[in-house]
Protein backbone atom coordinates (compact mmCIF):
# COMPACT_ATOMS: atom_id res chain seq x y z
CA UNK A 1 0.00 0.00 0.00
CA UNK A 2 2.73 2.42 1.03
CA UNK A 3 4.83 1.45 -2.01
CA UNK A 4 1.98 2.25 -4.40
CA UNK A 5 1.61 5.59 -2.65
CA UNK A 6 5.32 6.28 -2.99
CA UNK A 7 5.48 5.47 -6.70
CA UNK A 8 2.39 7.58 -7.33
CA UNK A 9 4.04 10.44 -5.48
CA UNK A 10 7.25 10.04 -7.51
CA UNK A 11 5.22 10.03 -10.77
CA UNK A 12 3.41 13.29 -9.91
CA UNK A 13 6.50 14.94 -8.46
CA UNK A 14 8.52 14.40 -11.64
CA UNK A 15 5.79 15.94 -13.76
CA UNK A 16 4.40 18.71 -11.56
CA UNK A 17 7.63 19.49 -9.73
CA UNK A 18 5.74 19.14 -6.47
CA UNK A 19 8.78 18.96 -4.17
CA UNK A 20 9.59 22.59 -4.75
CA UNK A 21 6.03 23.55 -3.96
CA UNK A 22 6.01 21.45 -0.81
CA UNK A 23 9.26 23.03 0.36
CA UNK A 24 7.78 26.47 -0.14
CA UNK A 25 4.58 25.51 1.61
CA UNK A 26 6.50 24.09 4.57
CA UNK A 27 8.13 27.48 5.09
CA UNK A 28 4.79 29.29 5.32
CA UNK A 29 4.03 30.36 8.87
CA UNK A 30 1.18 32.10 10.65
CA UNK A 31 1.70 34.43 13.59
CA UNK A 32 0.14 33.37 16.86
CA UNK A 33 -0.89 36.04 19.34
CA UNK A 34 -3.85 37.31 21.32
CA UNK A 35 -5.81 38.27 18.24
CA UNK A 36 -4.76 35.52 15.81
CA UNK A 37 -8.17 33.87 16.34
CA UNK A 38 -9.50 36.26 13.69
CA UNK A 39 -7.23 34.71 11.06
CA UNK A 40 -9.62 31.76 10.81
CA UNK A 41 -12.43 33.73 9.26
CA UNK A 42 -10.87 34.05 5.84
CA UNK A 43 -10.44 30.29 5.59
CA UNK A 44 -14.00 29.63 6.72
CA UNK A 45 -15.31 31.93 4.02
CA UNK A 46 -13.26 30.04 1.43
CA UNK A 47 -14.54 26.72 2.77
CA UNK A 48 -18.17 27.87 2.62
CA UNK A 49 -17.62 29.20 -0.90
CA UNK A 50 -16.45 25.72 -1.83
CA UNK A 51 -19.67 24.29 -0.36
CA UNK A 52 -21.70 26.79 -2.37
CA UNK A 53 -19.95 25.83 -5.60
CA UNK A 54 -20.48 22.13 -4.92
CA UNK A 55 -24.14 22.38 -3.88
CA UNK A 56 -24.80 24.93 -6.58
CA UNK A 57 -23.42 22.61 -9.24
CA UNK A 58 -25.64 19.84 -7.93
CA UNK A 59 -28.73 22.03 -7.93
CA UNK A 60 -27.95 22.86 -11.57
CA UNK A 61 -28.64 19.22 -12.34
CA UNK A 62 -32.36 19.54 -11.56
CA UNK A 63 -33.17 23.27 -11.70
CA UNK A 64 -34.91 24.82 -14.72
CA UNK A 65 -34.60 28.61 -15.21
CA UNK A 66 -37.99 29.12 -16.87
CA UNK A 67 -40.91 30.84 -15.16
CA UNK A 68 -43.21 27.92 -15.93
CA UNK A 69 -40.80 25.41 -14.46
CA UNK A 70 -38.51 27.12 -11.94
CA UNK A 71 -40.81 26.90 -8.94
CA UNK A 72 -41.90 23.41 -9.90
CA UNK A 73 -38.30 22.25 -10.23
CA UNK A 74 -37.51 23.47 -6.72
CA UNK A 75 -40.61 21.63 -5.53
CA UNK A 76 -39.30 18.53 -7.26
CA UNK A 77 -35.85 18.91 -5.75
CA UNK A 78 -37.36 19.26 -2.28
CA UNK A 79 -39.73 16.31 -2.53
CA UNK A 80 -38.78 14.09 -5.46
CA UNK A 81 -34.98 14.02 -5.56
CA UNK A 82 -33.14 11.90 -3.02
CA UNK A 83 -31.47 14.29 -0.54
CA UNK A 84 -32.61 17.18 -2.72
CA UNK A 85 -34.03 18.82 0.41
CA UNK A 86 -30.54 18.61 1.94
CA UNK A 87 -28.58 19.97 -1.01
CA UNK A 88 -30.96 22.87 -1.47
CA UNK A 89 -31.23 23.72 2.22
CA UNK A 90 -27.45 23.57 2.58
CA UNK A 91 -27.10 25.94 -0.35
CA UNK A 92 -29.63 28.43 1.04
CA UNK A 93 -28.42 28.33 4.65
CA UNK A 94 -24.73 28.43 3.73
CA UNK A 95 -25.35 31.47 1.52
CA UNK A 96 -26.67 33.42 4.48
CA UNK A 97 -24.01 32.17 6.89
CA UNK A 98 -21.30 32.96 4.34
CA UNK A 99 -22.43 36.55 3.87
CA UNK A 100 -22.61 37.03 7.62
CA UNK A 101 -19.09 35.67 8.04
CA UNK A 102 -17.87 37.83 5.16
CA UNK A 103 -18.99 40.88 7.10
CA UNK A 104 -17.23 39.62 10.21
CA UNK A 105 -14.08 38.86 8.19
CA UNK A 106 -14.17 42.34 6.69
CA UNK A 107 -14.67 44.13 10.00
CA UNK A 108 -12.07 42.04 11.80
CA UNK A 109 -9.43 42.86 9.17
CA UNK A 110 -10.56 46.47 9.34
CA UNK A 111 -10.14 46.76 13.10
CA UNK A 112 -6.83 44.89 12.99
CA UNK A 113 -5.80 47.28 10.22
CA UNK A 114 -4.68 44.37 8.08
CA UNK A 115 -5.35 46.61 5.09
CA UNK A 116 -2.29 48.79 5.67
CA UNK A 117 0.63 48.85 3.25
CA UNK A 118 1.53 46.54 1.47
CA UNK A 119 -1.85 44.79 1.79
CA UNK A 120 -4.07 47.50 0.28
CA UNK A 121 -5.06 45.39 -2.72
CA UNK A 122 -6.02 42.48 -0.50
CA UNK A 123 -8.53 44.80 1.13
CA UNK A 124 -9.78 46.19 -2.20
CA UNK A 125 -10.26 42.75 -3.75
CA UNK A 126 -11.89 41.65 -0.52
CA UNK A 127 -14.40 44.50 -0.59
CA UNK A 128 -15.18 43.79 -4.25
CA UNK A 129 -15.74 40.17 -3.29
CA UNK A 130 -18.24 41.24 -0.65
CA UNK A 131 -20.15 43.20 -3.28
CA UNK A 132 -20.01 40.20 -5.62
CA UNK A 133 -21.32 37.86 -2.97
CA UNK A 134 -24.19 40.17 -2.16
CA UNK A 135 -24.95 40.13 -5.89
CA UNK A 136 -24.82 36.33 -5.70
CA UNK A 137 -27.39 36.53 -2.93
CA UNK A 138 -29.62 38.94 -4.81
CA UNK A 139 -29.57 36.97 -8.07
CA UNK A 140 -29.92 33.60 -6.39
CA UNK A 141 -32.90 34.77 -4.39
CA UNK A 142 -35.01 35.19 -7.54
CA UNK A 143 -34.31 31.73 -8.95
CA UNK A 144 -36.99 29.79 -7.01
CA UNK A 145 -39.51 32.20 -8.56
CA UNK A 146 -41.69 32.39 -5.46
CA UNK A 147 -43.79 35.29 -4.22
CA UNK A 148 -41.13 36.75 -1.91
CA UNK A 149 -38.34 36.52 -4.46
CA UNK A 150 -40.39 38.10 -7.24
CA UNK A 151 -41.39 41.11 -5.16
CA UNK A 152 -38.02 41.48 -3.42
CA UNK A 153 -36.44 41.64 -6.89
CA UNK A 154 -38.98 44.23 -7.98
CA UNK A 155 -38.35 46.42 -4.94
CA UNK A 156 -34.57 46.01 -5.22
CA UNK A 157 -34.40 46.90 -8.90
CA UNK A 158 -36.78 49.81 -8.37
CA UNK A 159 -34.19 51.23 -6.00
CA UNK A 160 -31.46 50.76 -8.63
CA UNK A 161 -33.75 52.46 -11.10
CA UNK A 162 -34.03 55.56 -8.93
CA UNK A 163 -30.36 56.47 -9.39
CA UNK A 164 -29.97 59.80 -11.16
CA UNK A 165 -29.10 59.78 -14.87
CA UNK A 166 -28.31 56.08 -15.27
CA UNK A 167 -31.16 54.70 -13.17
CA UNK A 168 -33.61 53.72 -15.90
CA UNK A 169 -30.92 52.29 -18.12
CA UNK A 170 -29.36 50.35 -15.27
CA UNK A 171 -32.71 48.91 -14.22
CA UNK A 172 -33.47 47.79 -17.78
CA UNK A 173 -30.07 46.15 -18.12
CA UNK A 174 -30.44 44.30 -14.84
CA UNK A 175 -34.00 43.18 -15.56
CA UNK A 176 -33.46 42.43 -19.23
CA UNK A 177 -36.55 44.54 -19.94
CA UNK A 178 -38.94 47.01 -18.34
CA UNK A 179 -40.10 44.68 -15.58
CA UNK A 180 -39.40 41.39 -13.84
CA UNK A 181 -40.10 38.68 -16.41
CA UNK A 182 -38.70 35.54 -18.04
CA UNK A 183 -35.87 37.71 -19.36
CA UNK A 184 -35.00 38.62 -15.80
CA UNK A 185 -34.98 35.02 -14.63
CA UNK A 186 -32.69 33.97 -17.48
CA UNK A 187 -30.44 36.92 -16.86
CA UNK A 188 -30.23 36.39 -13.08
CA UNK A 189 -29.51 32.72 -13.71
CA UNK A 190 -26.67 33.75 -16.02
CA UNK A 191 -25.34 36.19 -13.38
CA UNK A 192 -25.56 33.56 -10.70
CA UNK A 193 -23.97 30.54 -12.45
CA UNK A 194 -21.68 32.14 -15.06
CA UNK A 195 -20.76 35.82 -14.74
CA UNK A 196 -20.47 36.13 -10.98
CA UNK A 197 -18.64 32.81 -10.42
CA UNK A 198 -16.01 33.69 -13.03
CA UNK A 199 -15.52 37.16 -11.55
CA UNK A 200 -15.48 35.78 -8.02
CA UNK A 201 -12.96 33.05 -8.81
CA UNK A 202 -10.71 35.61 -10.43
CA UNK A 203 -10.88 37.93 -7.45
CA UNK A 204 -10.54 35.08 -4.96
CA UNK A 205 -7.46 33.94 -6.86
CA UNK A 206 -5.89 37.37 -6.61
CA UNK A 207 -6.96 37.73 -2.98
CA UNK A 208 -5.44 34.38 -1.92
CA UNK A 209 -2.32 34.94 -4.02
CA UNK A 210 -1.77 38.19 -2.17
CA UNK A 211 -2.30 36.54 1.21
CA UNK A 212 0.15 33.78 0.31
CA UNK A 213 2.73 36.17 -1.05
CA UNK A 214 2.54 38.75 1.73
CA UNK A 215 1.76 36.46 4.65
CA UNK A 216 -0.57 37.32 7.51
CA UNK A 217 -0.63 40.87 8.87
CA UNK A 218 0.06 41.43 12.57
CA UNK A 219 -1.79 44.09 14.53
CA UNK A 220 0.12 47.37 14.94
CA UNK A 221 2.43 47.15 17.91
CA UNK A 222 2.04 43.40 18.39
CA UNK A 223 5.28 42.32 20.01
CA UNK A 224 4.92 38.54 20.14
CA UNK A 225 7.17 36.86 17.60
CA UNK A 226 5.56 33.42 17.90
CA UNK A 227 4.82 31.74 14.58
CA UNK A 228 3.25 28.39 13.80
CA UNK A 229 3.58 26.50 10.53
CA UNK A 230 0.62 26.83 8.19
CA UNK A 231 0.96 23.18 7.09
CA UNK A 232 -0.24 21.30 9.03
CA UNK A 233 -0.75 23.12 12.33
CA UNK A 234 -2.83 26.09 11.26
CA UNK A 235 -4.68 23.98 8.70
CA UNK A 236 -5.74 21.49 11.38
CA UNK A 237 -7.08 24.31 13.51
CA UNK A 238 -8.87 25.65 10.43
CA UNK A 239 -10.36 22.20 9.87
CA UNK A 240 -11.68 22.13 13.43
CA UNK A 241 -13.58 25.34 12.76
CA UNK A 242 -14.90 23.94 9.50
CA UNK A 243 -16.09 20.80 11.25
CA UNK A 244 -18.06 22.88 13.77
CA UNK A 245 -19.66 24.90 11.00
CA UNK A 246 -20.65 21.73 9.17
CA UNK A 247 -22.44 20.48 12.28
CA UNK A 248 -24.27 23.80 12.56
CA UNK A 249 -25.34 23.68 8.91
CA UNK A 250 -26.51 20.09 9.27
CA UNK A 251 -28.66 20.89 12.29
CA UNK A 252 -30.16 23.93 10.55
CA UNK A 253 -31.01 21.95 7.41
CA UNK A 254 -32.73 19.10 9.21
CA UNK A 255 -34.72 21.19 11.68
CA UNK A 256 -35.27 24.31 9.58
CA UNK A 257 -35.30 23.23 5.92
CA UNK A 258 -35.59 26.09 3.48
CA UNK A 259 -39.16 27.01 2.46
CA UNK A 260 -40.41 26.78 -1.10
CA UNK A 261 -43.07 29.49 -0.77
CA UNK A 262 -46.04 30.09 -3.10
CA UNK A 263 -45.29 30.49 -6.80
CA UNK A 264 -44.83 34.08 -7.98
CA UNK A 265 -47.92 35.71 -9.43
CA UNK A 266 -46.98 38.96 -11.21
CA UNK A 267 -50.65 40.01 -11.21
CA UNK A 268 -51.02 39.73 -7.44
CA UNK A 269 -50.55 42.79 -5.26
CA UNK A 270 -47.32 43.17 -3.33
CA UNK A 271 -47.50 41.27 -0.05
CA UNK A 272 -47.43 43.43 3.08
CA UNK A 273 -44.08 43.93 4.76
CA UNK A 274 -42.05 42.87 1.74
CA UNK A 275 -38.37 43.35 2.38
CA UNK A 276 -35.11 42.09 0.90
CA UNK A 277 -32.90 39.44 2.49
CA UNK A 278 -31.42 40.45 5.85
CA UNK A 279 -28.03 41.50 4.48
CA UNK A 280 -29.70 44.26 2.45
CA UNK A 281 -32.05 45.40 5.18
CA UNK A 282 -29.76 48.01 6.69
CA UNK A 283 -29.80 49.87 3.36
CA UNK A 284 -33.50 49.19 2.88
CA UNK A 285 -34.47 50.59 6.28
CA UNK A 286 -32.22 53.61 5.77
CA UNK A 287 -34.12 54.38 2.58
CA UNK A 288 -37.42 54.04 4.40
CA UNK A 289 -36.34 56.40 7.18
CA UNK A 290 -34.75 59.07 4.99
CA UNK A 291 -37.07 62.09 4.64
CA UNK A 292 -38.73 62.54 1.27
CA UNK A 293 -36.73 65.64 0.42
CA UNK A 294 -33.47 67.06 1.67
CA UNK A 295 -32.73 70.55 0.37
CA UNK A 296 -35.04 69.98 -2.61
CA UNK A 297 -33.23 66.78 -3.66
CA UNK A 298 -35.14 63.53 -3.38
CA UNK A 299 -34.14 61.89 -0.11
CA UNK A 300 -33.97 58.40 -1.56
CA UNK A 301 -31.61 59.38 -4.38
CA UNK A 302 -29.39 61.21 -1.91
CA UNK A 303 -29.25 58.18 0.36
CA UNK A 304 -28.32 55.84 -2.50
CA UNK A 305 -25.57 58.18 -3.62
CA UNK A 306 -24.39 58.44 -0.02
CA UNK A 307 -24.18 54.63 0.17
CA UNK A 308 -22.18 54.51 -3.05
CA UNK A 309 -19.86 57.26 -1.89
CA UNK A 310 -19.52 55.56 1.48
CA UNK A 311 -18.72 52.25 -0.18
CA UNK A 312 -16.08 53.90 -2.33
CA UNK A 313 -14.44 55.56 0.68
CA UNK A 314 -14.58 52.28 2.59
CA UNK A 315 -12.87 50.51 -0.27
CA UNK A 316 -10.16 53.19 -0.38
CA UNK A 317 -9.50 53.16 3.40
CA UNK A 318 -6.00 51.65 3.00
CA UNK A 319 -4.99 54.67 0.94
CA UNK A 320 -6.74 57.15 3.22
CA UNK A 321 -5.48 55.81 6.52
CA UNK A 322 -2.04 57.42 6.40
CA UNK A 323 -1.31 56.84 10.07
CA UNK A 324 -1.81 53.09 9.79
CA UNK A 325 0.44 53.03 6.73
CA UNK A 326 3.14 54.39 8.99
CA UNK A 327 2.45 51.65 11.52
CA UNK A 328 0.96 54.09 14.02
CA UNK A 329 -2.39 53.75 15.65
CA UNK A 330 -5.27 55.57 13.97
CA UNK A 331 -8.13 55.58 16.44
CA UNK A 332 -10.25 57.95 14.36
CA UNK A 333 -10.53 55.45 11.55
CA UNK A 334 -11.14 52.76 14.11
CA UNK A 335 -14.08 54.63 15.61
CA UNK A 336 -15.53 55.26 12.16
CA UNK A 337 -15.50 51.51 11.69
CA UNK A 338 -17.24 51.00 15.02
CA UNK A 339 -19.89 53.54 14.06
CA UNK A 340 -20.48 51.82 10.73
CA UNK A 341 -20.71 48.38 12.31
CA UNK A 342 -23.17 49.65 14.90
CA UNK A 343 -25.18 51.39 12.20
CA UNK A 344 -25.45 48.21 10.17
CA UNK A 345 -26.46 46.14 13.19
CA UNK A 346 -29.01 48.66 14.50
CA UNK A 347 -30.62 49.20 11.08
CA UNK A 348 -30.84 45.47 10.50
CA UNK A 349 -32.41 44.82 13.88
CA UNK A 350 -34.83 47.74 13.42
CA UNK A 351 -36.12 46.23 10.20
CA UNK A 352 -37.46 43.27 12.10
CA UNK A 353 -38.43 44.83 15.41
CA UNK A 354 -40.16 47.92 14.01
CA UNK A 355 -41.41 46.90 10.57
CA UNK A 356 -43.99 49.66 10.31
CA UNK A 357 -41.60 52.58 10.18
Amino acid sequence: MAKIGQSLWKFLDERFLLSGLIAFAKKKTVPEHRRSFWYFFGGICLFLTGIQIATGAMLLLYYTPHIDAAHESIQFIMSGVKFGWLIRSVHSWTANILIGLLFIHMFSTFFLKAYRKPRELTWVTGFLLLVLFMAFGFSGYLLPWNELSYFATRVGTDIAGSLPFIGDWLKTVILGGPEVSQATLSRFFWFHVALLPVAALLLIGIHILLVQTLGMSKPIGERSKKEIPFFPDFLYKDALGWTLILVLIGVLCVFLPWEIGPKADPLASTPLGIKPEWYFTFMFTTLKLVPAHILSIEGEKLAILAFMAGGLLWMLVPFLDKRAARETRSPVIGWIGVALALYIVIMTVLTYTAPNL
Binding site: T64, E72, V81
Partner: protein
Protein backbone atom coordinates in the same frame (compact mmCIF):
# COMPACT_ATOMS: atom_id res chain seq x y z
CA UNK B 1 5.90 6.81 18.53
CA UNK B 2 3.02 4.48 19.20
CA UNK B 3 0.90 7.37 20.49
CA UNK B 4 1.69 9.43 17.44
CA UNK B 5 0.68 6.62 15.11
CA UNK B 6 -2.62 6.15 16.94
CA UNK B 7 -3.50 9.84 16.64
CA UNK B 8 -2.67 9.81 12.93
CA UNK B 9 -4.69 6.68 12.27
CA UNK B 10 -7.58 8.08 14.29
CA UNK B 11 -7.43 11.30 12.29
CA UNK B 12 -7.16 9.61 8.92
CA UNK B 13 -9.86 7.08 9.73
CA UNK B 14 -12.38 9.58 11.01
CA UNK B 15 -11.69 11.81 8.00
CA UNK B 16 -12.41 8.96 5.60
CA UNK B 17 -15.58 8.03 7.46
CA UNK B 18 -16.78 11.64 7.37
CA UNK B 19 -16.04 11.94 3.67
CA UNK B 20 -17.98 8.74 3.03
CA UNK B 21 -20.91 10.11 5.04
CA UNK B 22 -20.90 13.17 2.78
CA UNK B 23 -20.46 11.29 -0.48
CA UNK B 24 -23.45 9.02 0.19
CA UNK B 25 -26.15 11.73 -0.14
CA UNK B 26 -24.30 13.28 -3.08
CA UNK B 27 -24.32 9.96 -4.92
CA UNK B 28 -28.03 9.35 -4.18
CA UNK B 29 -28.79 12.86 -5.34
CA UNK B 30 -26.95 12.64 -8.63
CA UNK B 31 -27.94 9.11 -9.63
CA UNK B 32 -31.43 9.08 -11.14
CA UNK B 33 -34.03 7.07 -9.28
CA UNK B 34 -36.36 4.72 -11.10
CA UNK B 35 -39.52 6.62 -10.24
CA UNK B 36 -38.44 10.06 -11.44
CA UNK B 37 -40.06 10.26 -14.86
CA UNK B 38 -40.53 13.84 -15.89
CA UNK B 39 -38.63 16.05 -13.49
CA UNK B 40 -40.99 18.93 -13.56
CA UNK B 41 -44.76 18.99 -13.70
CA UNK B 42 -44.88 21.16 -16.73
CA UNK B 43 -46.43 18.49 -18.86
CA UNK B 44 -48.24 15.44 -17.66
CA UNK B 45 -49.53 12.27 -19.26
CA UNK B 46 -53.15 12.78 -18.40
CA UNK B 47 -54.58 9.63 -19.91
CA UNK B 48 -54.04 6.87 -22.44
CA UNK B 49 -55.32 7.38 -25.98
CA UNK B 50 -58.80 5.96 -26.26
CA UNK B 51 -59.29 5.87 -22.48
CA UNK B 52 -62.07 8.46 -22.56
CA UNK B 53 -65.24 7.75 -24.52
CA UNK B 54 -66.74 10.80 -26.30
CA UNK B 55 -68.57 13.28 -24.09
CA UNK B 56 -66.78 12.24 -20.92
CA UNK B 57 -64.07 13.82 -18.84
CA UNK B 58 -61.36 12.88 -16.39
CA UNK B 59 -59.89 14.80 -13.46
CA UNK B 60 -56.11 14.40 -13.19
CA UNK B 61 -53.30 16.00 -11.22
CA UNK B 62 -51.36 18.78 -12.96
CA UNK B 63 -48.58 20.21 -10.84
CA UNK B 64 -50.16 20.51 -7.43
CA UNK B 65 -53.72 21.24 -8.58
CA UNK B 66 -56.53 19.35 -10.27
CA UNK B 67 -57.12 19.64 -14.00
CA UNK B 68 -59.87 18.33 -16.28
CA UNK B 69 -59.36 16.48 -19.55
CA UNK B 70 -62.52 16.49 -21.68
CA UNK B 71 -63.28 14.38 -24.72
CA UNK B 72 -66.04 16.40 -26.39
CA UNK B 73 -68.98 14.99 -28.31
CA UNK B 74 -67.14 15.59 -31.58
CA UNK B 75 -64.06 13.79 -30.31
CA UNK B 76 -62.00 16.93 -29.59
CA UNK B 77 -59.69 16.80 -26.59
CA UNK B 78 -59.67 19.82 -24.29
CA UNK B 79 -57.81 20.33 -21.01
CA UNK B 80 -58.38 23.06 -18.44
CA UNK B 81 -57.59 23.88 -14.85
CA UNK B 82 -60.02 22.12 -12.57
CA UNK B 83 -59.98 24.70 -9.78
CA UNK B 84 -63.07 26.93 -9.80
CA UNK B 85 -62.01 30.57 -9.67
CA UNK B 86 -64.74 31.39 -7.11
CA UNK B 87 -63.87 29.41 -3.97
CA UNK B 88 -61.49 26.73 -5.36
CA UNK B 89 -63.87 23.76 -5.46
CA UNK B 90 -63.08 21.19 -8.15
CA UNK B 91 -65.25 21.57 -11.24
CA UNK B 92 -66.83 18.67 -13.08
CA UNK B 93 -67.85 18.05 -16.65
CA UNK B 94 -71.58 18.27 -17.45
CA UNK B 95 -72.04 16.10 -20.56
CA UNK B 96 -75.60 17.28 -21.26
CA UNK B 97 -74.62 20.92 -21.74
CA UNK B 98 -70.94 20.35 -22.67
CA UNK B 99 -69.93 22.77 -19.92
CA UNK B 100 -67.83 22.60 -16.80
CA UNK B 101 -69.93 22.96 -13.71
CA UNK B 102 -68.95 23.79 -10.15
CA UNK B 103 -71.21 22.04 -7.68
CA UNK B 104 -70.48 24.42 -4.81
CA UNK B 105 -72.26 27.58 -5.97
CA UNK B 106 -73.49 26.79 -9.44
CA UNK B 107 -70.63 28.33 -11.39
CA UNK B 108 -70.55 27.33 -15.04
CA UNK B 109 -67.74 27.53 -17.63
CA UNK B 110 -67.62 26.72 -21.32
CA UNK B 111 -64.91 24.43 -22.70
CA UNK B 112 -62.75 27.45 -23.47
CA UNK B 113 -62.72 28.27 -19.77
CA UNK B 114 -64.98 31.33 -20.09
CA UNK B 115 -67.45 32.00 -17.30
CA UNK B 116 -71.00 31.41 -18.56
CA UNK B 117 -72.92 32.05 -15.35
CA UNK B 118 -72.64 32.07 -11.60
CA UNK B 119 -70.20 33.64 -9.17
CA UNK B 120 -66.75 32.77 -10.62
CA UNK B 121 -64.88 36.03 -11.25
CA UNK B 122 -62.25 34.74 -13.70
CA UNK B 123 -62.07 32.21 -16.51
CA UNK B 124 -60.36 28.83 -16.13
CA UNK B 125 -56.83 28.49 -17.46
CA UNK B 126 -56.68 26.31 -20.60
CA UNK B 127 -53.88 23.86 -21.35
CA UNK B 128 -52.42 22.44 -24.52
CA UNK B 129 -53.29 18.84 -25.36
CA UNK B 130 -51.16 16.60 -27.53
CA UNK B 131 -51.61 12.97 -28.45
CA UNK B 132 -48.21 11.32 -28.61
CA UNK B 133 -48.50 7.69 -29.54
CA UNK B 134 -50.52 5.99 -26.86
CA UNK B 135 -50.38 8.91 -24.43
CA UNK B 136 -52.44 12.05 -24.12
CA UNK B 137 -50.06 14.72 -22.87
CA UNK B 138 -51.30 17.93 -21.29
CA UNK B 139 -48.90 20.85 -20.93
CA UNK B 140 -48.97 24.49 -20.02
CA UNK B 141 -49.37 26.93 -22.87
CA UNK B 142 -46.29 29.13 -23.20
Amino acid sequence: MKRRNFVDIFLGGSLLATIAAFLYPVARYVLPSRSAGGSVQNSVTAAKAGELPPNTAKVFKFGSAPAVLVNTGEGRLVALSGTCTHLTCTVRFDAETETLFCPCHNGRFDLGGNVLSGPPPRPLETYAVEVSGADIIVSRKS
